[in-house]
């Protein structure tokens, strides 16, 4: 099976949801569930068994694909776990584990679970038994048989998982409906409930779904005053998300507060016949002043997959509360509570499904946004915002392994007060050989939700930052898929008071996102390093080859050629220094301490750089005289500035103009002009090269960006030059802007006039 076919599956799942209304007899209902399972999975045969671990037995409940004789023989048949019969020994521990079971060849070896004779008789070959869990408890197994050797692929396992979950819900609803019938809910009401549930499956938006649930829920029990609140996992507050009959505004209730908060905390519906009776004293919180009765029904998932340690378990997931109030005392009956409870359980599953899709869609958008960003810090910040805003985690910590692979250190963190972040980062720095949790995750490469008392937590950090108030969340390694290397860890968590578990669905979404980001970051770094590595090598090869050539051939060469060789060597040295600065920028190393000195900008920087670039100009076949400047501009700009940094900007602008000139010496011109405004000097660099598309006017300043025209003209280049140049100019209090895109391409270097003041003098005056 290559993929799950959605449409037939939806039809089958819809048919499944009809079972509780269509069948009164349990055995017939279970038989129908098994038949639908056989159809969904395209099975040779299926069986449904219930497991009672307490009484150590299993019961054969239903089957499909067998003959009447077998059905009769097996119907309701109970087998003790641990007993042996017909060559079958059902091992208690196997069932106690509650894990999925696959057997390749039942006819040769039933592995104690199946009788080979029966397997041969009914042509059963391979089987997958999938556990049915309700409220985190194993209730049975759904067994899917093939008639020949069959490998159960991932998609098929996913399909059986979807079916098994829905089957459990159907069984629960069947039981629930029979209970509702016993509490004398009319068939009409049950039919209406089923219609509402069908209507809910069509909702594509959580807000609309909540409105629908409130509308239909109130209609179902015949009341008009109600509201739905959702638990905010960051604040622990129950935010009102839908209401009817204009409830007066009040601050949100906390989890555990009021009848509403109590119902969610205790995970059961609460019905108060008279909110002013002593029973509710100190608990009831007034919304409508004339309310006498209140019914609060929690919206929660009973058997959500959760992670504890490295294992998957089951636990409840509180989502919100459906509240109904009435001015009449004793307004609500058991039947109202039961039917609303049933609706709320279904609602919880629908909300969870919709939110899963919405989270994936939001993260896909963030992934696209990351693609356009080249700055490491920017990417990490977008990722952390994505994790908190989309997945609802309150706390995120990104720790990175150092290049020597000896330590792991927290580099980015969200969820701490600003004044504690630096101290936390300083303390969260551990040897990879240590017993620290982060170091252990790097070694084990496993996703883990450690217990809050876990011994691997740093006691110093725990005490200083009150980590016992947090769940301490999920720890996830950031693994580079190409070489299985761990480059860091991501830790994401909530406050312990608002949530009990970390849910596996969120972990899987987070994992997909983290895998994507890890790959994107590594690819970006690799690409930049390859580019810069190539440019380093080119310059070194230039120096080496010129030096060797001079050494061997100096006697035979003209003075002019020797001079050109030395010029080339010096230019390559300048290029190397320029590359070092780019590398420092990529690695995030601090720039060397600035030396501020008096600079005659045109003479000391511009003219000097033009002379240095003579070999590059000659290489293109251009003439130095085509770089034009006005000698009268030389004395105009005398400022106190970090000469090396300013030199880097001019070097970058001029090399770009040379590299991206149109072919042909007659087409090459660079014109440098000096202007001034009241506050600034403006140095204009104009060239008549290949130009810059209007759509790229701002993008050219983004880290790593190169226009398609630039890439096609010149393959090498890291796309960092203009980013670094603008950064330098802004550090000076000025700017670097693109004033015109094409013919001429015109960059303006803006230098503030206040740089005319000698900072050393002003320092002394102070």
């Amino acid at each position: 099976m290559s993929k799950i076919e959605i449409d037939p599956l939806i039809d089958i799942l819809n048919a499944l949801s009809e079972v509780p209304l269509q069948y009164i007899d349990k055995r017939q209902a279970l038989k129908r569930i098994t038949e639908l399972g056989r159809k969904a999975l395209n099975s040779h045969a299926c069986t449904l068994i219930f497991v009672d671990l307490e009484n150590r037995c299993i019961t054969h409940e239903a089957c499909a694909g067998f003959d009447e004789e077998y059905e009769k023989h097996m119907a309701g048949r109970q087998i003790k776990l641990g007993s042996s019969k017909d060559g079958v020994h059902l091992d208690f521990d196997l069932f106690a584990k509650g894990e999925e079971v696959t057997i390749d060849n039942l006819q040769e070896n039933g592995q104690g679970v199946a009788n080979p004779d029966i397997a041969r008789k009914y042509n059963l070959y391979s089987v997958m038994g999938y556990p049915l869990n309700s409220d985190g408890r194993l209730i049975g197994y759904f067994n899917h048989f093939s008639s020949e050797y069959h490998h159960f692929y991932k998609n098929e396992r996913e399909l059986i998982k979807i079916f098994a979950r829905q089957a459990v819900l159907t069984i629960e609803r069947f039981e629930h409906y029979r209970m509702l019938e016993r509490s004398s809910i009319s068939l009409k009401r049950l039919e209406r409930l089923n219609e509402i549930m069908q209507e809910m499956t069509k909702a594509r938006d959580v807000d609309k779904l909540l409105e629908l649930i409130l509308d239909r829920g109130l209609e179902l029990i015949g009341f008009r005053r109600g509201w739905i609140s959702r638990l905010n996992f960051k604040t622990g507050e129950l935010d009102v998300v839908a209401d009817h009959d204009n409830p007066p505004k009040r601050p949100p209730l906390k989890l555990g507060q009021g009848i509403t908060g109590k119902a969610l905390q205790e995970e059961r519906p609460i019905r108060a016949d008279n909110v002013y009776s002593p029973e509710w004293n100190g608990i009831y919180v007034e919304i409508w002043p004339d309310t006498h009765s209140e019914l609060a029904v929690p919206i929660l998932i009973n058997n959500a997959e959760i992670r504890k340690g490295r294992k998957i378990n089951f636990g409840s997931k509180p989502i919100g509360v459906f509240n109904v109030e009435s001015p009449d005392p004793c307004a609500f009956f058991q039947a109202d509570e039961d039917i609303l409870w049933s609706l709320a359980r279904h609602a919880a599953i629908m909300i969870e499904r919709l939110e899963f899709d919405q989270k994936l869609a939001k993260l896909a958008k963030i992934e696209k946004e990351i693609l356009g960003r080249k700055n490491w810090d920017e990417i990490i910040n977008i990722v952390m915002q994505g994790i908190t805003e989309t997945l609802g985690f309150a706390y995120v910590n990104v720790s990175l392994v150092n290049p020597e692979h000896t330590r792991i250190k927290t580099e980015y963190v969200i969820g701490y007060p600003d004044n504690e972040v630096e101290e936390f980062k300083r303390m969260a720095d551990h040897s990879l050989d240590s017993n620290d949790i982060q170091a252990d995750i790097v070694r084990s490469k496993q996703i883990e939700v450690p217990d809050i008392e876990d011994k691997r937590f740093d006691p110093g950090i725990r005490k200083r930052f009150r980590h016992d108030r947090l769940i301490r969340g999920v720890y996830m390694p950031m693994i580079v898929p190409s070489d299985d290397r761990v480059i860091g860890t991501i830790e994401a968590g909530y406050e312990i008071s608002h949530r009990n578990y970390i849910y596996e669905r969120d972990i899987q979404i987070l994992k997909g996102f983290v895998d994507y980001v890890t790959l994107a970051l590594e690819q970006r770094k690799k690409w930049l390093l390859e580019q810069i590595g190539h440019e380093f090598r080119s310059a070194i090869v230039g120096i080496k080859s010129n030096a060797s050539f001079l050494q061997r051939r100096v006697e035979e060469l003209t003075q002019d050629l020797i001079q050109r060789k030395f010029d080339d060597i010096l230019t390559d040295c300048e290029i190397l220094l320029f590359q070092v600065k780019e590398l420092e920028h990529i690695l995030g190393l601090p720039a060397p301490i600035s030396k501020i000195e008096k600079t005659v900008v045109v003479r000391d920087i511009i003219i000097k750089t033009i002379k240095q670039l003579k070999p590059l100009i000659a290489e293109q076949g251009f003439h130095l005289s085509k770089i034009e400047y006005n000698p009268a501009d030389i004395p105009k700009i005398i400022i106190y500035v970090d000469k090396a940094k300013l030199n880097q900007v001019v070097y970058n602008l001029l090399t770009n103009s040379i590299k991206y000139a149109e072919d042909g010496p007659d087409l090459f011109t660079i014109r440098i002009l000096v202007n001034e405004t009241k506050d600034n000097f403006i140095i204009k660099f104009k060239d008549w090269g290949i130009g810059i598309g209007k759509e790229f006017s701002e993008k050219i300043f983004e880290e790593g960006f190169r226009t398609p025209e630039a890439v096609s003209k010149n393959v090498t280049g890291s796309g960092l030059g203009l980013t670094i140049s603008r950064k330098i100019m802004r550090e000076f209090g000025g700017d670097l802007v693109l004033a015109n895109n094409d013919k001429p391409t015109e960059f303006h270097m803006i230098l503030p006039k206040r740089l005319k003041e000698d900072p050393n003098d002003s320092f002394r005056r102070r």
Partner: protein
Amino acid sequence: MILFVDDEKREMDSYVQELELSGYKVVFKKDADVALEFFEKSLNEIDLVILDIMMSPGSSFKQMDTQMGLRTGIAFYKKIREKASELPVLIFTNVSDEKVSETFLKETKCQFLRKENYLPFEVVDEVKKILG
């Protein structure tokens, strides 16, 4: 005649001059389009092609997979082999990716040299070995 194809003319000058001073006639082309045109026109006169890998693809190689110019030399090499299966080719590059060198290991009449490991006179020695 040696056809030397490389977009970094200045860095390759000493190699070209050393070859010339050693008695070889060298035609240097820094543009892939011009180089391909020259190759096709002068095929019978060319004894050896010295070829870089990272070069702008130009219009001749746009349709081929050059990884935006990072591997133009590989596409150029294929074009050479279409016309001259026995012509010696010396790949001379700064590309450090081992996958690239492995590509050429399987080829006959083709040698792969990393620029950083060869000084101009050493390249002349290699050329002598190839051309005899």
